[in-house]
């Protein structure tokens, strides 16, 4: 009888055995993802995501973390859950955290929603329910109620436009401010 067939069979069994031995015993956490109509080619999901972005001098410019993320090629959108990011700047870092985030337009626009908290430098904070952030222009916008603090002083209103770069801002309606010396 020809020896080649048993040989191939032997190596196949050996390979399967090795694969079984090396297979991780603890289950890889499966990212529960709502793929909006089913999984399609190109969909990607990841958990415990850390993104680091560097400038031309190799300095860390942006550090972002998400508990999980999934990318939909259709519309080039990336959904993030449990989002926190920090942009490192000479004049004070900008940190932002939210329950959910959506990167779209080729990562040129970040929508964040769900207990959004942004901090600018060491003593300015912004709280709202939803906001839009354009990293390139540094503009933050929302139509929702916002609550800002600067030291012990507070400001609140409905609707905000702010530029992180020029440090200018507008509150659009129902403004209340308290300056505490």
């Amino acid at each position: 009888m020809n020896l080649r067939l048993p040989g191939l069979l032997f190596f196949a069994l050996l390979g399967a055995g090795l694969l079984w031995l090396t297979w991780p015993k603890q289950p890889i956490p499966f990212v529960a993802v709502d793929w909006h109509g089913g999984i399609r080619r190109g969909d990607q999901a990841a958990s415990d995501v850390v993104l680091r972005e560097y400038d031309a001098q190799g300095q860390l410019q942006l550090l972002a973390h998400a508990q999980d993320a999934y990318h939909l090629p259709e519309g080039n959108q990336t959904f993030l859950n449990g989002l926190s990011l920090e942009r490192f700047r000479r004049q004070g870092n900008l940190a932002l955290q939210a329950e959910h985030g959506l990167l779209r337009n080729g990562d040129q626009e970040l929508l964040a929603w769900g207990q959004v908290l942004a901090t600018l430098g060491s003593d300015s904070t912004l709280r709202t329910e939803r906001l839009r952030y354009d990293p390139k222009s540094g503009v933050i916008e929302t139509q929702d109620p916002v609550f800002l603090t600067h030291g012990r002083s507070t400001l609140q209103g409905v609707g905000l436009w702010a530029s992180v770069k020029t440090e200018q801002f507008r509150l659009l309606h129902q403004v209340r401010g308290t300056y505490v010396p």
Partner: protein, 147 residues
């Protein structure tokens, strides 16, 4: 008049308005507009627009405009109005300008500019060139009118 409130010009400043436009640099400035009400202690200012000049979060000057801008201070029985009001919490000064009028109770002074010092409760009035300052004092019961 009643003893001045020791907290005059001190304590938190509360402001409400329709809109706000603010900046942190080059200087900290906030422009409140639309039915603006500013309060510190019992000093209350009503204006169409109010610009806050601050440094390190502390209000150095508040400039209010309106037609007119008005203020009241119940503790000192004072009220007044003008086209512009400048309030300096640090020095405790209120400067009314542009057809400025200031009352203490029924007594009134008016001129182009009225400066009122919160702590000492002194008042200085100046008139435009060619015009004069006006004061009206009502004799208190018992004959003597107190400025």
């Amino acid at each position: 008049a009643n003893a001045p409130d020791a907290g005059l010009g001190k304590g938190p400043i509360h402001i409400s308005a329709d809109q706000l436009q603010g900046q942190n640099k080059p200087v900290q400035e906030a422009i409140y507009s639309g039915d603006v009400v500013m309060q510190q202690g019992d000093l209350i200012i009503h204006a169409a627009q109010l610009t806050i000049h601050a440094a390190a979060g502390k209000v150095e000057k508040a400039v209010a405009t309106g037609s007119p801008v008005s203020f009241t201070m119940s503790s000192a029985e004072r009220h007044g109005y003008g086209q512009q009001l400048t309030y300096e919490p640090g020095s405790g000064r209120i400067i009314l300008s542009g057809d400025a009028h200031l009352w203490q109770g029924k007594n009134e002074v008016s001129g182009n500019q009225v400066t009122y010092l919160l702590q000492s409760q002194q008042t200085a009035v100046t008139a435009s060139p060619g015009q004069r300052v006006r004061s009206v004092f009502y004799p208190a019961k018992g004959g003597s009118a107190k400025p």
